[in-house]
Symmetry: C2
Subunit: 356 residues, 2 copies
């Protein structure tokens, strides 16, 4: 363990200038402060830039092996290939790496951690790396973990309503620009392709996103599945420790800025009741139940964006199957879906380091 | 049978001035012309208005018992309570009623007809009324009927992405106005409730629809289910003749003008293959398969709005269950979801009347 100011560990934030990095600096400024030095790291292009964290300006340094010297915990919010190269370098230099890319998530020697669900997994990290799950998986896994503890989960059918910011700042910019182009029209969205023609440049999405939904996120994998859909399956299995969990996901992008929503049909070994399921969700750390449709109460992404918890509503027992629940969940993909869960994992490590 | 001009039957269109009525007049002007007189009927408020159908101006007459005299087939695109009162009056006056409201759909003596799936059901109509299914059910049922014929359907898990026009013209107007209010902002959609505050008046939806999705459509029924979700279950069972079909639906409104989309997880008695399922869908009347994600090809609502077929893509076999398929479907809720299916049913009746 490196020398740390005030006896507190040193944190490096790699990718400090990105969409998730920006939320991370906000979180580090508002959560309980467990860190000594916080070092901000980015590509050489952003080096020298000054960002505010914990109320103080900090100069961004360029990514280099030396920037990890003296670092206890290094968070990575960078593309897969950058993590793949640099997380092991951070580890060599003495840091524990917490990585939010897809580079290590399915590595058997890298734990995939959600602190509310499997915190103990963070202690076994043979490569010195801990992975943070994909944002879509994170939008439901805290709630599903709580229900699994009671009912024993067997199968998930998931349909997502994913926000533009899942594609980073270019996704947000593209959606805002597309919305400006369709605003004010009395006819767009009524003839085949009229929205596509009005929008022109699609940005990072494979079809128009304004006045549309796009049944595609990620890259094409085997048998017609998208990478995003396979992540939901494989990461849910790993986090819950259920290698035989049956999962079918359809991932769809919607014209929402930030916060992913999911419609989930979950089947359990034990019979479920709505009252008990609601009580479990009401008591689960990190989950807020908003479920009173008679009074118009259910979560929507625009109402919960910018908040930390997983919001759950529309809890119903399947009419034809007393072992299945249908739910609707919302979670901010930049917070719990990325920066917040990474911060929580890093805090677990800070606690472990303090224990000595 | 009443006397008909040129030996062709007389049609009444009740609700001719509404969102569905407008599409109906367009369809009646472009489909093969099987009708003699076409009488346009609406509320007293709209009587005297002139609308164009088949290239000719026709004056709208006020709804009255007499307006059904001499009518062979009367289509109703009006609220449930208007249909409930007036469809039986049309029948008394000698017409066969084809009703697109929810008033009679689950009546055991009223067939619920999708011409591609159960055309024979239209012949047994003890009350003289035939019902047209709900638009959400219609967005998938032609494709599911084709797959059922081969594989024997046992269960459906459905998540919808429903368009604003499902709430009629007020829904379209509300979405367009909301989009104008959020366009041009660089910050809306990032803080809890900021979109709600910017939008003010919600229109017919229980939450903002611009930059949002709303997990609610219809009215509250038993055990937390919405009327729209129960319609998907009950109507699918009736149309397919499968009283034990297991169905769980979550209905969600999205900021799309027109065309409903559905993510469907369908489980069959027989094992499925993607190749065979794609071939079935490619050959099914009323269905178009667009399924080549490697080349960015899948249906989206903005690309298929204004067209007649059900568009299907993203056909995958569930990784953990060789009896299940995952699909994404789009269908114009004002055309096949309402006016077109009603027109098709009426044409079945015109054919039957011509047979004598």
């Amino acid at each position: 363990m490196s020398p740390a100011r005030n006896g507190k560990p040193t944190l490096a934030v790699v990718g400090a200038t990105g969409a998730v990095g920006t939320v991370m600096l906000d979180l580090l400024s508002t959560r309980e402060d467990v860190w000594g030095e916080i070092r901000l790291v980015a590509s050489a292009r952003s080096a020298g830039k000054k960002l505010v964290v914990r109320g103080e300006e900090v100069e961004v340094v360029a990514l280099s092996p030396e920037c990890f010297d003296g670092v206890d915990v290094a968070m990575f919010d960078v593309p897969d290939e950058v993590s793949k190269e640099w997380a092991p370098i951070a580890v060599e230099r003495g840091a524990i790496a917490v990585d939010n890319s897809g580079a290590f998530r399915m590595d058997a020697d890298v734990p995939l951690v959600v602190p509310e669900v499997n915190p103990a997994a963070a202690r076994r990290r043979p490569r010195g790396i801990i992975s943070n799950p994909n944002c879509t998986t994170l939008s439901m896994i805290v709630a599903m973990g709580a229900l699994h503890a009671e009912y024993n989960l067997q199968a998930l059918v998931v349909a997502s309503y994913q926000a533009a910011s899942g594609a980073g700042q270019p996704g947000i910019d593209a959606l805002r620009e597309q919305i400006s182009k369709v605003a004010g029209s009395d006819t767009l969205g009524t003839q085949p392709g009229d929205v596509r023609r009005a929008i022109g440049e699609l940005g990072p999405f494979p079809a128009p996103l304004a006045l549309n939904v796009v049944p595609w996120a990620g890259s094409l994998k085997e048998d017609g599945w998208s990478s995003e859909e396979l992540k939901v399956r494989n990461e849910s299995r790993k986090i819950l420790g259920l290698p035989d969990l049956r999962v079918s996901a359809t991932c769809v992008r919607v014209p929402v800025i930030t916060t992913h929503s999911l419609a989930v049909h979950a089947t359990f070994e034990r019979e479920v009741t709505v009252d008990r399921a609601q009580a479990i969700l009401r008591d689960a750390p990190g989950v807020v139940l908003v479920d009173d449709p008679a009074n118009g109460e259910f979560p929507t992404p625009a109402d919960v964006v910018g908040t930390d918890p997983t919001w759950v509503g529309r809890v119903r027992r399947a009419i034809d199957d007393p072992h299945s629940l249908d739910l609707f969940l919302c979670g901010d993909n930049l917070r719990k879906g990325a920066a917040l869960n990474t911060a929580q994992i890093a805090e677990l490590l800070a606690e472990e380091l303090a224990e000595g």
